[in-house]
């Protein structure tokens, strides 16, 4: 998608780019703040074992370009990594201890620690304890039977959630023998997002502050309070007799006000402080004041910032994300610059200087994003002024009005090493260009587009729970999974709602009229959908919306199932997750599971 948009010139323009449709309102925010194993906050790299010192780490991940017109913004990497460490460890972080870098865990070079790998490790009994925080892996992850079995091999599990779910109660789920399971399960009741204060960041990177609505019910707490209290207790225990206590004992952990979690303190920590008096360009910033933007961050330990991308979001002017200004910008394209706040530095469209020609004039004169309006003298620009969105770097345009090239300009793609968009994508396990492969399970014995059948670098796992079956007469139909508007995620917040259950009461499988006839299945009848990994009972929905199709001279039937159900609710216990069927196979770069194409059978009960 990114390659197509680049070729079409749809980068940095209004309505351009690629907008990820997320499964949840704060996916952007949570990944910005280190949800994924391979990146630290602000897209900094997780340290590898081979990055033995902070200097080596910074050296490894700071790119350099010989092109004087490349901004190469990541050259600032050490400022962001050191400021992050200062946020983590506060006054305990100093030059002598590499700002605490040595206390952070490093991942083995070449190893992968994705979702699949975590459950694989549990299954193999190398991980023995588990916090399931706001998730329901017994239903949400591909190959859920393997996940459920893995949970049974743990010593302990802490389930942090609104309600009991299929994960917390896995030990009494279908096919389980509670007497044989040793896992000790703790339930920490959390409140819902509307019952707590904080921010979410949407796919457009707008960080929006939200006030608390109703108070949390019963003993439930905002997860900020849960993690803060846990942290305090863990610090206590480590200080008493912890093995290698420094990483935990030295953690800065002062985010409470009057004994409860204070989201403003965390938001300010994420923005960052001057931790000593700092003079920059003749202006002195006092110790303890908030850093105005990431351009002020330093690599010498004089500033902190939990996430440099969010530096500028909570400043001495206040909480920028809480703004609710209704005025649009001068270009009137829906930027609303004073509504909430957008990273970086409230820039609403990244790489927006790609929307202008070399002289700073928009390609699109109607829905323009930025426009260079500096003064001109004798065919040369003599002052700098951009209007519209916050420009992606306020440098002069590449060319003067008379067509001469400037040497004080920068290319527009400032986060790329050389300042240009890239079609060739180095660093991908299966790169540099996209290629079509058949799924791990497929109905044909041959890839009709190239001689390589499946992606040779795809992630596959080898336990006996990772069975797969391709071109296997026992599983002759293509299966796919999707969502319905009535249920959300694994359904924990919707399967408990009677009005929603009235509309979507049961797990179902959608099949074509042709397949129904072939199998003698009546509309509405209960059937079993099976794969090499599991079995799910479904109501058959015979529909014109599914049609058999031809593939290499073969008639292929496809069926579709929603993924939101689980045995815990509804109380019949007869509905369960589509992920009992899906394979634990993942793409080689991010381990996105292959839950959209796999092989199944549909059989009458």
């Amino acid at each position: 998608m990114a390659i197509i948009q680049q070729l079409l010139g749809n980068m940095g323009v209004a309505g351009g780019g690629v907008n990820a449709l997320r499964g949840e309102s704060n996916v952007q925010g949570s990944t910005d703040h280190c949800l994924l194993w391979h990146i630290w906050p602000g897209c900094l790299k997780t340290a590898r074992a081979s990055n033995t010192t902070l200097a080596a780490y910074n050296e490894k991940w700071t790119p350099s370009s010989k092109d004087p017109l490349s901004a190469n913004w990541w050259q600032n990497y050490p400022k962001y990594s050191v400021s992050m460490l200062k946020s983590f460890f506060g006054e305990k972080a100093d030059v002598a201890n590499e700002f605490g870098y040595r206390w952070l865990p490093k991942v083995d070079d070449g190893a992968v620690y994705s979702w699949f790998d975590i459950f694989d490790a549990m299954y193999k009994e190398t991980i023995k304890g588990f916090f399931a925080w706001g998730q329901n892996p017994a239903c949400s992850g591909a190959n859920a039977n393997k996940t459920r079995e893995a949970l049974g091999k743990l010593d302990w599990m802490v389930n942090v959630n609104l309600f009991d779910n299929e994960t917390g109660s896995f030990w009494k789920g279908p096919g389980m023998d509670p007497g044989a399971i040793k896992t000790e399960v703790f339930m920490l009741p959390a409140c819902a997002s509307v019952e707590k204060e904080g921010s979410i960041t949407n796919s457009g990177r707008w960080m929006q502050w939200r006030c608390r609505g109703p108070k949390p019910l019963g003993d439930s707490l905002p997860d900020g309070d849960i993690i803060l209290t846990l942290g305090e207790k863990i610090k206590e225990v480590y200080q008493e007799d912890g093995l290698y206590p420094e990483p935990i004992a030295n953690l800065k952990w002062d985010y409470a006000t009057d004994g409860t979690y204070d989201p403003h303190k965390v938001a300010k920590e994420i923005n960052g402080y001057f931790v000593k008096d700092v003079t920059i360009k003749g202006k002195t910033y006092r110790k303890g004041t908030l850093v105005p933007s990431f351009a002020f961050l330093q690599a010498d330990g004089s500033t902190s910032s939990g996430n440099w991308l969010y530096c500028n979001s909570y400043t001495e002017k206040g909480n920028m994300a809480a703004r609710r200004g209704q005025e649009d910008a001068v270009n009137n394209i829906g930027l609303f610059p004073e509504f909430a706040w957008c990273w970086p530095v409230n820039r609403r469209i990244i790489y927006n200087r790609a929307s202008v020609d070399a002289k700073g004039v928009p390609w699109d004169r109607k829905d323009w994003v930025v426009y260079f309006k500096g003064e001109e003298k004798d065919g040369k620009y003599v002052s700098r002024k951009w209007i519209g969105d916050v420009p992606d770097g306020g440098w002069y345009p590449l060319q003067n009005p008379d067509g001469s090239w400037r040497d004080d300009a920068k290319h527009p793609f400032i986060m790329r090493k050389h300042g240009h968009a890239q079609i060739f994508g180095p660093g991908r396990a299966d790169g540099p260009f996209p290629e079509h492969y058949e799924p791990l399970e497929c109905p044909v014995e041959k890839n009709f587009l190239n001689p390589q059948m499946v992606n040779p670098t795809a992630a596959v796992y080898a336990t006996k729970a990772d069975a797969h079956a391709t071109c296997d007469p026992r599983y002759p139909y293509v299966g796919t999974t999707y969502r319905v508007s009535e249920h959300w995620q694994t359904g924990l917040m919707t399967r408990t709602q009677s009005w929603l259950m009235e509309m979507q009461p049961q797990m179902f499988v959608e099949i074509s009229e042709e397949l129904a006839e072939l199998k003698g299945i009546q509309n509405g009848e209960r059937v079993n959908v099976t794969s090499a990994r599991g079995k799910v009972a479904c109501s058959a929905v015979v529909t014109k919306r599914f049609k058999p199709f031809m593939m290499g001279g073969l008639t292929v039937h496809q069926v579709g199932i929603p993924w939101h159900y689980g045995w815990r609710w509804p109380s019949t216990g007869k509905e369960d997750s589509a992920n009992l069927l899906t394979p634990s196979a993942g793409d080689p770069n991010t381990r996105i599971p292959e839950t959209k194409a796999f092989m199944v059978n549909v059989v009458k009960v």
């Binding site: 319905v484 508007s485 009535e486 009677s498 009005w499 929603l500 259950m501 009235e502 509309m503 979507q504 009461p505 049961q506 179902f508 009546q522 509309n523 509405g524 009848e525 109501s539 058959a540 929905v541 015979v542 529909t543 014109k544 919306r545």
Partner: protein
Amino acid sequence: MSNAFFIDTTRCTGCRGCQVACKQWHDLPAEKTENRGTLENPPDLSFSTYKLVRMRETETDGKLKWLFFPEQCRHCIEPPCLETAQDESAIFKDDKTGAVIFTANTKNLFADEIIESCPYNIPRKAADGTLAKCDMCNGRVTNGLLPACVKTCPTGTMNFGDRDQMVSLAQQRLAQVSKKHNSAQLVDADDVNVIYLVSEAPALYYEFVMASAGSHGLSRHMALRKMASPFWRALRQLA
């Protein structure tokens, strides 16, 4: 001047937000349902379901269409139910909003007779014979709020306002939609305060989309009803 709905089915995605919003505002209980081989549920309007999105799959010229019809009371300009009941304490019309309202006193009516009178097959009865249906969220509307179903609709399907405005919006949209769909039409627009725009033949959406298929619409239905009403009243007295 009354209010009216304009329901633009060409914009409906079948999300059923309207269906839930209706239950929530009226605090109606969920029905015990099962998947019947369709995503449409509950199976019918009922004493506790005033709004229901009908879903039909149809193929014309080899092209598949999944048609959604958010069904509700049409708040007829001359309501046959009201005419049949002849009891303003049970069924009345709020002249300010145009809402046709059923009260608890519908229990005293001949429920089947009222149901039979409706050309759109809308009213439903409880076990004790009390009747219920969409009330235009009259309580909300008279307090300056939109009906719950309109408020929640994210696609522009559900619209509500002064009848004049809705009629003009409906005609505007009809003109646009007609460019692509020969069968596009406004359903019974002169007779009802819930004006549907459909892009296909009404019968493809659901049995009771129009007052009656063919030449005689709601007006004729009403005329017949009026002719017969003395007969019904006599029957009622006998009972």
